[in-house]
Symmetry: C3
Subunit: 342 residues, 3 copies
């Protein structure tokens, strides 16, 4: 019952159009969810990100691609890493960034969310980067903004976190090559509440990953998750065996109430990634985590900082992937100009 | 007595020079109040804003006019819309923007306001954009800053909000043409506490508006307002008749104490703009509001979102008008160089 | 005992490498403390700042020196002046600035300081500007960041504030010429708790100042301060005699607990700089203060605003000096490229 209640509320957002991510040319217009995107599109995001990775490694980390564009950061939920990487991605693309202070915003004077958004739209913003604690919030917004505005989902409730999933795919490809069919990928922890896990599973499926495993306590395993094409394990030692990629999830302590979990110590015993447990995976397995990490809760410090960890590479790659998505979304040919150029 | 007490405190600022807005060439140096400016100057602001409106509609919304200039935003009073549009205007002019966090500023360490300002001045800021809850605060500051610095009033107490008034004039001109002599303009609501209304009335007068009406409850009508050349109504149905432009004011709930007003419901009955009431105006009348709107208090939702509403256009125009004022003020020839060029 | 306890905790940071400020070419890589730097290096900072002072006096205050570099401001302790001047210095060098909101940062989700820093490092920041209330914090960080990142100390506990000291030297040189050997410089006030005083004394010594005096109550005089080559006075009237430069320190009320001090009034009587007292110094003596000033506590208003005061010049010079340090630190030839260019 708990599981059911906390699954993404499709009914809430069911009245909206879910196929709004692509424009009539099939180009990415919004980036709200991985679900329903094609293999080609995901690969083109990864390839574009690769070119930005080269720029970010240079001494002058800046290109004039989005000069004169205005990007508004709307974080209704606290975030450091994601917010900072989106801001840096925008600045390295030479866009103007407006950090909207939500708590001080007019919503505190009784203005509605949509009035706030319509005002930002009237300020001729080109893109809203939105994080919200309600699942489906970014779809809701994307369905209501003016045609010229793109919406990027920076995490909505327990629904989706598509740029996180793409930076994870980018990190896997950089370490394991582009043949996802050969890979065994294990996602470990609080899958039930994790928008990151949902988006990762969609992306891994679309990239034709050979074997996707979910390792979680029964109370934190979404009902019907097998339908997403994953193998479910409740025993970590069993699930980690021969894995090429181990993705640890953050234990969302703030999200959990009541008796879903034993103590942190017990959790670590059963679902924490220790050096010992890591030996059960492939010797060259990589360890990932979206951060911020809870040392000693879901991961041992020596693993997080160890040679198999690519956790900080994920942060670096986050900027390249966000630059890729932002430039693809805003760099499209205007739909209204179609056919005009010859 | 209430009215008298809350009128702009001319005595407070009387010792200062009120004619400091223009430099010795008659060019705009500060922008503090509409009062005393010439018709030609207001029209030149509107014409300059028109050219920026074209830039803001383009794909690359940026010009290098104020590159290398430093603009400090000093908001002693909360604001979203005004603050964001000033920030975007500055960025689209390529200026560097410093958002001074007032609450965290050294004033909390016991530093005086003027010490804070002198420090920002010593940082070679070129412009202060100031919002303050004290009437006359921006004049006070403009009289005390170094000669090289321009001060823009972003709203001071119940005194003035000149950029808001100019964006309203711009919106009226774009919709109704430049013959203000033919127009009937009604300003409705809490006129007593409204710096917006005061600045609008001055601007409408300077632009030779045919008929300016003020519609307000007796308790919210400033004593002697007729001397500003307006017609006063206490009955909305009567005052709205045949109006070309209806400017609704925000009900400043936070400003009102005691028994100035009946309940919100009663207020809406008497001074709210409903669809029904709007029919009494000209069929092509436009509806304006400085925002944020209180839906169902001073305006019906279907009117705010309806075909006659230009409320969001006002926001868009606010950026163009602020770019115009900023560029005019900072783009002047240096006074000390007079005669040197030949 | 109090004095001893509050002296910089060398033991705390003793395990770290203190000679990390210079790279293997002897160029400035971090800027953490004045201690141990050469006369030549300090002079080259002052000379570089001189060229930026010219730029800051121009109409277009911007150079493309650090275009495409990312600078993160990490202020763990409140600051207005220092933070704003660092931000403006970075922007006038065309760098991208990331203001990290520490209180909202992931550390509030239980992330450690080093995890937060490693994440910013992974975002390919080029420089951390750090203020922290723990003495030695910036050394701690500089010892642990990746080789490509520079750390600038913007004030750490009661240890050091090197950019403040250099802007003070710059102000002295601009007013008194470059022969520091002829100068008598008095530092007055709460020397015990002052990172500013410590850094100033080091800088004055390295620049071979003729006579450095410290004037402080016994309870606010660090034990063994004479070993730093200064003359100690507890009587202001005696210590100020024939001084060329008088540097007043801020009375750090918030730092002091218990009975170290008499009342503010008594403090002002004994250690406040009044006009009368100033007459005991050289007639052309300059008066300095790092700000924010406590008027009537450590300095009389008419002195702070008087003709001998250069307090606001210090603020202006702060930007030039910070631009100098930032550009020297980030403008070095990469160490790995040594010998490659021909």
């Amino acid at each position: 019952m708990v599981n059911k209640a906390s699954r993404p509320t499709d009914s809430m957002i069911g009245r909206d159009n879910w196929n709004i991510q692509l424009d009539c040319n099939g180009k990415l217009k919004h980036f709200l969810t991985i679900e329903g995107l094609s293999t080609e599109l995901l690969i083109s995001i990864l390839d574009t990100a690769e070119s930005f990775a080269n720029i970010n490694a240079k001494s002058v980390k800046k290109v004039p691609l989005l000069r004169g564009k205005t990007i508004a950061n709307l974080f209704f939920e606290a975030s450091t890493r994601t917010r900072n990487t989106f801001e840096l991605a925008a600045k390295r693309l030479s866009a103007d960034v407006l950090n909207v202070n939500i708590s001080a915003s007019a919503t505190s004077k009784g203005e509605t969310l949509m009035d706030t958004l319509h005002n930002l739209q009237a300020m001729q913003c080109d893109m809203f980067v939105v994080r919200h604690n309600a699942s489906g919030a970014t779809h809701y917004i994307a369905n209501r903004v003016a045609p010229g505005i793109s919406v990027i989902n920076a995490g909505d409730g327990s629904h989706a976190h598509p740029t996180q999933a793409m930076l994870d795919m980018f990190t896997i490809r950089r370490n394991k090559g582009d043949n996802f069919g050969q890979l065994r990928v294990a996602i470990v922890g609080d899958v039930l509440h994790s928008r990151v896990a949902r988006s990762q599973i969609h992306a891994l499926n679309i990239l034709n990953t050979g074997n996707i495993r979910v390792i979680a306590p029964r109370t934190l395993t979404p009902i019907g998750i097998e339908d997403m094409g994953v193998e479910v394990f409740h025993d970590f030692d069993e699930g980690i065996r021969d894995a090429d990629v181990i993705i640890m999830l953050r234990l969302q302590k703030e999200r959990m109430q009541g008796a879903l979990l034993p103590s942190e110590q017990e959790y670590y015993q059963m679902y924490g990634l220790s050096r010992e447990r890591l030996r059960l995976a492939k010797p060259d397995a990589i360890v990932m985590h979206p951060g911020p990490i809870n040392r000693g809760v879901e991961i041992e410090s020596s693993v997080a900082d160890g040679p198999q960890s690519v956790i900080l590479d994920q942060v670096t790659n986050g900027i390249s992937v966000r630059m890729a998505v932002m430039s693809m979304v805003l760099g499209r040919e205007p739909e209204t100009d179609k056919g005009e150029k010859s």
